[in-house]
Symmetry: C2
Subunit: 299 residues, 2 copies
Amino acid sequence: MNKNIVGIDWGTSNRRAYLIDQSGACLAEHADDQGMLAVGGRDRFGASLAGLLAAMRLPSDVSVIMSGMVGSASGWQEVDYLDASVPLARLPSHLAAVTDPAWAGRATIVPGYVYRDGGAADVMRGEETQLLGAVALGHRDGWIVLPGTHSKWVLLRDGVIQSIATYMTGEFFAMLSKGGTLSAMLSGDSANADGFATGLKQAASHAPLTNSLFRVRAGVVSRSAPAEQAAATISGLLIGAEFAAAARAADGLGITVIGSPALAARYAVAAQHFGLTCAVLDPHQVYCTAVSQFLKASS
Amino acid sequence: MNKNIVGIDWGTSNRRAYLIDQSGACLAEHADDQGMLAVGGRDRFGASLAGLLAAMRLPSDVSVIMSGMVGSASGWQEVDYLDASVPLARLPSHLAAVTDPAWAGRATIVPGYVYRDGGAADVMRGEETQLLGAVALGHRDGWIVLPGTHSKWVLLRDGVIQSIATYMTGEFFAMLSKGGTLSAMLSGDSANADGFATGLKQAASHAPLTNSLFRVRAGVVSRSAPAEQAAATISGLLIGAEFAAAARAADGLGITVIGSPALAARYAVAAQHFGLTCAVLDPHQVYCTAVSQFLKASS
């Protein structure tokens, strides 16, 4: 019997699959743009998954574990959120079996988490799998930061989620670039170091982003700030807003960033600005580690 | 000689013209969508203005005073910003003559203001004319609020600008409605009273909008907030961010809103939530009052 497993990070726009063996080694990888929105409806996920396995030349009876938006109300099958109090190490005992008869018994979906704070709530789907990997790699305490379209800041204590905060950082940057008052400035270099530092500094004021972002433009039109730094200043304001909020919540803890090298480098600069130590983990390694945890628990 | 004057509020997307007589009465009004972007280039403002006067059946030699983006770098002629320390009552002595020979001697542009705060700057073009009108109507102290695409909060002391803060409230609401994670929720009723109150309450936390806006969606998908209130909650968060920032800057001062009845009503609710008194002025009356001040000063 084949004891390998395929882990699929199935998001809104893209998906990425990893074939993991019993030792936890990653034997193969596959990425494509067949995210939830591209699949085109609940009843087409099965065919989409079969296509993915065929593209990876895998036997059709291989076990599959999926995380991300595939488990949302608009995905293959809605899987209820776990409460934040459930330790990440217990995730393997909460997997939801896919009910589609063609896949029952060998395809499961990882549940996301909901965090409740008074009347407010924050949620994740997909990042919990990364968190399980980080915990297995020894990162059981402090802030885990997963930057991206929706950046997640998760505070861990002994492998248990203490809080979840999502920031629409990447989505805002893309949206502001597409049109409106700031779009012309955003065609510039968003990595300019001086501009980025200016944005980080201004983020510490906690002014609303509707105001601080406008002031980037006001600085340019009133000739008090260089236009070529504006895109990086906006990046610094958006990323800095995450740090300013987290710094208020738990001063002095270090952060562990799970992200691509380019994005992680930007967060490392911001961490230094806010006086936080910063470790960086590779998201692929973290994901594979999590899948091997699931595999271990199932055998 | 014709001593009437035409005041034109010439913005980015629209313009509105008022014919004012020496007594300050408004004899005629005209609004169209020939804002700066529609004119199509610097050298076409003259023809556009001639068309406006013809549409109003006015003699071609009538005096014209223009405010707004018509005086920006992308407008008819760039007019330098005044420093915030210049009293609003002195605006009539800072009008810039249009240099286009066809209009020289009878067309002028009102300068905007720049406010500098350490390294940061904020600016206005067009709102200064409303402010002159408000001052002439006796509103010389406290917050003047001009809600809209770019909401302006201006703190006045004895008719002099103490600070300018711009919030991209209307632009953000429109941008978030157009696409992305929140757009589906924004097709709902943005005036729902309970939802709006929820947003105002959450705005007081000073959490970054990238986070608080995401949490509106998180509340709906985790079944902790009613979906039909989400659009109004987002409106409350965006408008509440203005009040939360201003409340921090100058606690307890009343506000005077210059805005349409629908928008002013929403700001009045927010003011009450934040414990501020709120007066409302009609923007057309305020603009006409300002134009009559210019006319008086020129005669």
